[in-house]
């Protein structure tokens, strides 16, 4: 039984509304309504579908990053890993390999990239921001070393279909399907399993976590490997969308990926975050980008806006979390007189 259930539903609704996820959800809906009214073409089925498709590769890379940031780590090399996996895919196809073989090679490359990050960050304990900044440049550099500046074309038709087709009779892009399949899995693992609880524990208080027998370096290593694998999958989808394996494939995607995670309310201090918030953040970023695109914003302008959203989300998430924690502690104080209120930064283990 969690403490929230002891209060009545009006309270629950209130606290949910005041939570970051609640505010973000309201904002997302308001944004979509505004865009539909003010931006011609926004609510068009084709536009919604293609806006979602543009986010498909990024959305995948978000999933493992949520875990990493909750565990006080980060992987900013995801876009470069996706690029390198795409090149591996392209080279395998070019040398006569089957699509299945190419997928396997690409995933293996992603796994290796993740393992390399994991080795430095988890086994050697180096700061992951710096490690993955290094591998961001390393993996991207390898792309160019392997193929030079020219994209590999003549990709297999089934991959091009994955990147460009819609599910029969709808505007749902096939490219988003892998995300739709993986998202519930990541949700359940994070919020419903001992593994997820350990990830929260590591981020909430690494010292306590290790004293309670959690093998931090092993879990963090697994998270980096997962990040590499999923990034490789994103890379394959990107190859499909662009019908070619380009050395600059998915370049710069880390901006949107990191923005979605922080906008989703995952704490940069680790230990806190909810997949729900992250899903809403995805909706917000898709809507913002789609709106800007239809307003004929250039790519630089869009990147500037997303960068701004990143900064504002860090600020806002901080303020809102503090406020709601303050309100909560006041309530608790009122209920249990004499008992000290929990600190806002305390570990929040998910209630059953």
């Amino acid at each position: 039984m969690s403490t929230t259930t002891t209060t009545g539903w009006p309270h629950r609704l209130q606290s949910r509304m005041l939570s970051w996820e609640g505010l973000l959800g309201a904002f997302a809906i308001a944004l979509i309504v505004t865009a539909a009214i003010t931006t011609p073409g926004f609510s068009d089925g084709y536009n919604l579908g293609s806006s979602v498709a543009r986010m498909a590769a990024k959305a995948l890379m978000v999933l493992p990053l949520v875990f990493l940031i909750i565990a006080r780590e980060i992987d900013i090399s995801v876009a470069s890993t996706a690029g390198l996996a795409g090149i591996a895919f392209g080279l395998t196809v070019q040398s006569g390999g089957s699509t299945l073989a190419a997928v396997a090679v690409a995933l293996a490359v992603g796994l290796a990239c993740g393992a390399l990050n994991g080795f430095f960050a988890a086994v050697l304990g180096l700061p992951s921001l710096v490690v993955t900044l290094g591998t961001l440049a390393l993996f991207r550099g390898l792309c160019y070393v392997l193929v030079g500046g020219t994209p590999i074309s003549n990709m297999p038709p089934e991959i091009i279909s994955l990147g460009n087709d819609s599910i029969l009779g709808t505007y749902i892009p096939a490219a988003i399907v892998p995300f739709l399949l993986l998202a519930p899995v990541f949700y359940i693992v994070l919020h419903k399993t001992p593994f997820g609880r350990r990830v929260f524990a590591i981020g909430g208080n690494p010292g306590t976590a290790s004293y309670s027998g959690i093998r931090k370096s092993r879990i963090v290593f697994q998270l980096f490997v997962t990040s590499g694998l999923v990034a490789a999958l994103a890379g394959i989808i990107h190859v499909g969308i662009t019908s070619s394996a380009a050395p600059d494939g998915a370049i710069g995607y880390e901006l949107d990926v990191v923005t979605v995670v922080f906008l989703g309310g995952v704490s940069f201090l680790g230990g806190k975050g909810k997949m729900t918030g992250v899903f809403w953040a995805l909706v917000v970023v898709i809507a913002i980008r789609s709106m800007l695109q239809l307003q004929n914003f250039g790519a630089y302008g869009q990147a500037a806006v997303v960068g701004l959203v990143l900064i504002v989300s860090l600020l806002m998430a901080n303020i809102v979390n503090r406020t709601s924690a303050m309100l909560a502690s006041r309530r608790t104080r009122a209920q249990k007189l004499g008992n000290p209120a929990p600190e806002p930064a305390a570990i929040v283990l998910p209630t059953k």
Binding site: G41, Q293, G298
Partner: protein
Amino acid sequence: MRTPARAALSGLAVLSLASLALTACTPSGGTAASGGGSCTPKDNITVGYIPKLGDDPYMTTVRDGAQKAATELGGTNKVVYTSPSEATGSAQIPFVQQLISQKVDVIAISGSDLNGAAAELKKAQAQAIKVITFDSDVAPDARSLFINQAKTDELGTGMLDSMSNLLGGTGEFAILSSTQTAVNQNAWIADIKKRLGSEAKFSGMKLVDVVYGEEKADVSANRAKELVTTHPNLKGIIVPAGISLPAAATALDEIGALGKVKLTGLAPASLIKKQIQTGNVQDIWWNVTDLGYLSFYAAKAAASCTVTGKAGEKFDAGKLGSYTVGDEKTVILGPAKIVTTANVNEFAF
């Protein structure tokens, strides 16, 4: 009970809700316009331009030319100019999608690569949007017309004619090319050598050296200076490379050799306007404003269903006159011009 679980489920519901919203609509263009066979003529048109890079001066000059044509045609003819920030086909995809959503009548694109945006352009065609390319082509099955600035093989001819003109038909000259493997440049050099050997009017001219500027301004400048010192009788250099010609012109100007040695080649005329005005430098170039102007008229012809890409089809291009579609659904702006003191002011780029 278990509120977090419910909160989470509602979160997942967000995604499925969005999906449902998408399912609710039935795609319209996908099936209806699968063949380019049916064509509904349109009078006033909106043409969406997708350059390789939004802030490239070459591309903004094209845009200005297109705008000129739209203004001239009056009505509600309109240019929408978009701005990718990376010169890759994949970076152009969101802009293709934008223009499809905005239901423009024609998309005019300068392909950053052949295939990156091709699949998306085919979707545009399926929605009855005409696709034309200018400056740089995409996969031919993804567009109905390619507006090419000049026939590639004619440029070599123009450069040798220009050199002969500068030298008065006699003297030694050299070639400062881009790289040893550059396909276009090597074809032009082969063509120049062939014509030197076979045509009587070039009998007084002698090609003494071919060197390479490696697509770098500093290397090109040094190679130009070396040519002048190693060949004391050198009268001219042909520089068929956009980076090398301005570099060579500046370098020879600095050491006072420009005049004794004359230059011609291929580069944006505006970059060497000063040297062209001295009469010692000529240039083979085309009018980039006209390229934009022609592209808008070609878009108009495609949208009005009078031009489908078959060889021999004709269309009107305002002040530029009438144009005919050639092989491979290509329209050529015209023979490249020799830019001299007399006409350098016509070239905005």
